[in-house]
Amino acid sequence: MFGKKRVAVIGAGLTLFRRNMKETGREMCWEASNMALDQAGLELKDIQSVAYGSAPDAFDGIHMKGENMTDGSGAWRKPFSRVYVGGGTGVFSAEAGWWHVASGLFDTCLVVAEEKMSPCQPHPAQAFTTIFDPIMDRPHGTTLIWIFSLEMHRYMHKHGIKKEQIALVSVKNKGNALDHPCAQLGAKITVEDVLNSEIMAWPVQRLDISPTSDGAAAIVLASEDVAKKLTDNPVWIDGVGWCIDSTYWTNRDLYYPDYVECAARMAYKMAGIKNPPKEIDVAEPYDPFDYKELHHMEGLLLCKKGEAPKLTAEGVTQRDGDLPINPSGGLLGVGNPIAAAGLMKVCEIFWQLRGEAGKRQVPGDPRTGLAQAWGDLMQYGSVIVMRK
């Protein structure tokens, strides 16, 4: 065990994920946090610290977002930190929460991840144009979709993967999301639906992508002694890993996410995992686009490079398969309020390991689960391994 204290997740909360929510960002933080506290059997006064995660301020349109969300995140007069690593934020905020407790500094930490993308007009995609280097990238009219489609195309080319194989992920995840009470885009679709959908940036088509969303998620972390007093069913955070690669993304071969492998190895070492495909019972890798689930499965060492499409086609990654992947429905089906989406995956693993995932429950009493998020300019991997 690394760190001074073992850390458990003892409660989780989630709001609906929708394209537009009436609630302000703060109100969504409160809704998710309040639910997590209720589930943990704690009151706000029992929370000693708060770790909050959210992606670019430009979506909410309040350029000091962390501070604006504090009172909805229970941080009134408490130690508060905000973390941000692009799309990796959701899982990374859980890791930041882990530091608070594992260091021995605090016994409890409330982790909150929130995103309100809808205020940005005419479309949240607008806010993404300024993440790029102003001199080398922006003058071409670069948008976020460019980098995803460039990466997807390279991955397809390197391994000779066809669109039909990738589309199976979108079909699986949107189908899985039909059983998620918060899901924005749960649907029964076919591979043909994906292949016939509007071209956004070849080879990316509309049904290959997750939506923009508003939503919030929260989890309560507690040290071992506190957790054992509060619940018979703590879920331990046994491994954390995070890694970032160079900003010079055009100088890298995008077919494989080395930085996800680095983060995964760090988490596996901590958790004592030597054979990930055999020892991980359920995984929630980050899936903002369908090909990303495959890309990340390989980066997480859950299969060999180029092998992920085969496992998907064989049904291995279905809920009743040997390695269930994204039983929640992932970002493709549940929605993508950037930071909240990553923490939603941690919530899902929490519920799966406790046997509380309802219709989404993976059979066979899963004991070890993994959640992963990815961010920045194809740079960042955050990986968390949980056990019951």
Partner: protein, 157 residues
Amino acid sequence: MSTEKIQDSREIRHWPDHMETDYLYTLGIAGERFFQEIKKNGKIMGAKCKKCSIVYVPPRMYCEKCFNKLEEWMNVGTKGVIQTYTVAHIDLNGDKLEKPMIYAMVKIDDTDGGLIHKVEGIAPEKVRIGMKVEAVFKPKGKREGSINDISHFKPAK
């Protein structure tokens, strides 16, 4: 050697750019009700946390201290007291204003909260902390459901 500094200032390059984004903010569950009361009824509302004995203005969905949901709303009137104020002489671009503008944090009577707003009807030198003021609303037809539906605060008797 790349650590050499650029000696000729004409070689130093800059790159201009801009970030222009439009926003459409929903008011939130509490905010929508607060502003609709201002717009339709000319009323300023507060929300009470019974546990902490706090009356929040502007009202909110939850108490930030105990995290309880706030369900008790009340009309808190339109009168208050200047808790602090400032007198602005320049605008956002740094240009001189035609006449100085007084902005105050007005604590609404019998509540724990207040509103930031303009104060008019008094010379800047005469404003005092602790001064009584009251809200002046725009005519109902001109209200849009924003903080500017209150036109300003004026000295109260």
